[in-house]
């Protein structure tokens, strides 16, 4: 039963079989082990990956969904190793749990790209990563400049809405921002709340922050765009959204970028999908026998603001 469902699920992700005689046969099997399809950022990754490989009919792409379960993702990678794919791309759920099985893939001679998150051993051919600390620092820098413009000096009050505690993204988006903000003694984080990345929770926590601080909030810094949007809605309900500016992170086209265009967020910072680089490097690994990729590629973020 479960096996049948799995077949069904993976079947949905496969490209339609090639039709017509002109289409070259599929020569390469590329497996993407995604840690959790049920996150918008990761859904965008999957879609972009399918889009990029769709112009390469010689590649058969299969995406496995680890469903936020490390054991499941490990089992899926083990199954993939048996199929001897030409390329394995892994977006690991946890840095410890996935290290060993990725080492097994390498040992089986499968080129393995580690996407976005780190693992404890360098068990990958190349690691394409983002830097949350740098993103936090960019946000911190933007907030400092904004407060200087607004208040004539680097001073003012920030409410921080944090992602899930203990998660790398939340830790480094916080630490990065703080690395800049602590240089200015008159910039204060007057309220920080944890909203676990969720928009509805951010609305409730922001409502409490607004009530606790009836005046004097200059900036709301949320660790992702949905929480920034939730904070905006909470302020709007009280007619206070014009008092402060909302800063988000992620910049997905239909979320953060759209909120910025609509004037809801003052700015957001892109958390790169990393898949464009993965496809570029992956295709070279498939087709250029002598190609040696760099051990890591760091994807830079960019600020998304209205012109």
């Amino acid at each position: 039963m479960a096996g049948a469902l799995l077949l069904l699920a993976t079947g949905c992700n496969e490209a339609p079989p090639p039709t017509g005689t002109a289409t070259p046969p599929e020569r390469f099997l590329v497996v993407f082990s995604q840690c959790n399809n049920a996150e918008p950022y990761r859904a965008s990754q999957n879609r972009r990956l399918e889009e990029l490989f769709s112009s390469h009919p010689e590649v058969k792409l299969v995406i496995h969904d680890g469903q936020a379960d490390a054991a499941k993702q490990i089992a899926q990678i083990e199954n993939s190793i048996r199929q001897k794919p030409s390329l394995l791309i892994v977006a690991p759920l946890q840095r410890d749990a996935l290290s060993r099985v990725m080492g097994e893939a390498l040992a089986a001679g499968i080129p393995t790209i580690c996407l976005e998150r780190d693992i404890v051993e360098p068990n990958y051919t190349t690691w394409i990563r983002c830097d949350n600390f740098a993103i936090g620092a960019m946000a911190g820098q933007w907030m400092t400049e904004y407060l200087t413009r607004k208040n004539g000096a680097p001073k003012g009050n920030i409410v921080e809405i944090r992602g899930m505690q203990g998660v790398e993204g939340a830790i480094n988006r916080h630490a990065g921002a703080l690395s800049v903000l602590t240089n200015h003694s008159e910039i204060r984080i007057i309220h920080d709340a944890t909203a676990n990345w969720f928009q509805p929770v951010a609305m409730d926590r922001m409502t409490e922050a607004l009530n606790a601080h009836p005046v004097g909030i200059d900036v709301v810094y949320a660790h992702n765009d949905p929480m920034a949007y939730g904070a905006y809605l909470a302020a709007k309900e009280k007619g206070r959204e014009k008092e402060m500016v909302f800063v988000g992170v992620d910049g997905l086209p239909h979320e953060g970028s759209r909120y910025v265009q609509e004037g809801i967020l003052g700015v957001t910072f892109e958390y790169p999908l990393c898949v464009d680089k993965a496809v570029e490097v992956g295709l070279r690994l498939l087709k250029e026998p002598g190609f040696r990729p760099e051990k890591t590629y760091l994807m830079s973020s960019r600020m998304i603001a209205r012109p």
Binding site: F198, M203, D204, P214, E262
Partner: protein
């Protein structure tokens, strides 16, 4: 004949030891919150500010609504774990209809149809739960655990793993958000539903049957009670309220989020047990659940106002749940 608890026959539904105890707890928590509340610049008590109190009420509405029907299910000695997933499904379907369907009908009708679809999906899901529990005689925990998993999958499927944004504009999606997230509407819906469910439980034959069934299922069956219909109705109502709650949550967040409502079923169960309803069925009621919701709402609000760390908040809530249930047990012994 099944024994109907003596409290049920009391002409004064509030004049019971259990109700007094939970009422006193609500007051104690309320006073405690007022005492520890931060002050505004003018020296006013922020917790007691009317705007804050109504904010706290609105924040708890989505869970407090599902807790009402959860009380019915738990009174029959059952459980409904699927309500969080139903909230996601109903919100996603409403949002899909608003965002991706552009019919040549008036905005009002478009919004109404979207809401109706979300609510009906909830009702159907609940009905299905009830059917599986009664006809296949599978334990409610297992049935609703399965539908929790399956309906979450369905919600993610319908939404294609994305959040469906409705925006804050003047199209159907934006107006839906503006109209249905207002404080009077959200809090009013909860208060009205609380009254209706209170009256159903305390004043109707169906309400008496619910209690009797949870008190002693075999005796109820032998006494000729329509056991199947009672159970199906309880689960259908639970699905219906989850559907309504999902629509309200989608309106408030102007988003259909397939990951919405995660662990909300547990928050709702916590409200029910804090209110003194026994998980073994038969005992408890809507008044307790409303009080349970108020206790959780007040505690959450004041901890947020004081900017208490989220981990400490979880620990404090756990303490409250255990203390409330402990109080309930001493009552049973006495």
């Amino acid at each position: 004949m099944a024994t109907v608890p003596s409290a049920q026959r009391s002409p004064f539904p509030f004049a019971r030891w259990g109700n007094w105890r939970i009422t006193l707890t609500v007051f104690a928590v309320f006073i405690g919150a007022a005492l520890v509340s931060p002050r505004s610049f003018e020296g006013g008590n922020i917790f007691l500010d009317l705007a804050n109190l109504t904010d706290a009420l609105r924040a708890l509405v989505p869970v407090a609504i599902i807790a009402l029907a959860m009380t019915f299910v738990i009174l029959t000695a059952g459980i409904d774990l699927s309500v969080g997933a139903i909230i996601a499904l109903s919100g996603v379907i409403t949002a899909r209809i608003l965002a991706d369907w552009h019919p040549a009908i008036g905005l009002g009708l478009h919004v109404s149809l979207a809401i109706l679809a979300g609510v009906i999906v909830g009702l159907l899901a609940g009905f299905l739960n009830g059917m599986l529990v009664t006809w296949l005689r599978i334990q409610s925990f297992i049935v609703t655990l399965a539908s929790m998993i399956g309906l979450r999958g369905l919600a993610l499927w319908v939404a294609d793993n994305e959040r469906i944004g409705l925006g804050v504009g003047h199209d159907a999606g934006g107006l839906f958000g503006t109209w249905f997230s207002s404080k009077p509407l959200m809090v009013g819906t909860w208060i009205s539903l609380s009254l209706v469910f209170f009256l159903i439980l305390s004043r109707t034959v169906f309400g008496r049957h619910l209690r009797a069934l949870g008190d002693n299922a075999t005796a109820s069956y032998l006494a000729g009670l329509p056991v199947v219909r009672i159970q199906v109705a309880a689960y259908a109502l639970s699905g219906l309220l989850a559907g309504i709650s999902g629509v309200l949550l989608a309106a408030r967040t102007t988003t259909g989020d397939p990951n919405a409502g995660v662990t909300m079923e547990l928050d709702a169960i916590a409200m029910v047990v804090i209110g003194g309803t026994s998980l073994s069925g038969g005992r408890g009621g809507i008044y307790g659940t409303v009080c349970g919701a108020l206790i959780i709402g007040v505690v959450t609000n004041v901890l947020g106002l004081r900017n208490v760390g989220s981990n400490a908040q979880l620990v404090l809530k756990a303490v409250i749940i255990v203390l409330s249930v402990a109080a309930q047990r001493t009552r049973e012994r006495s």
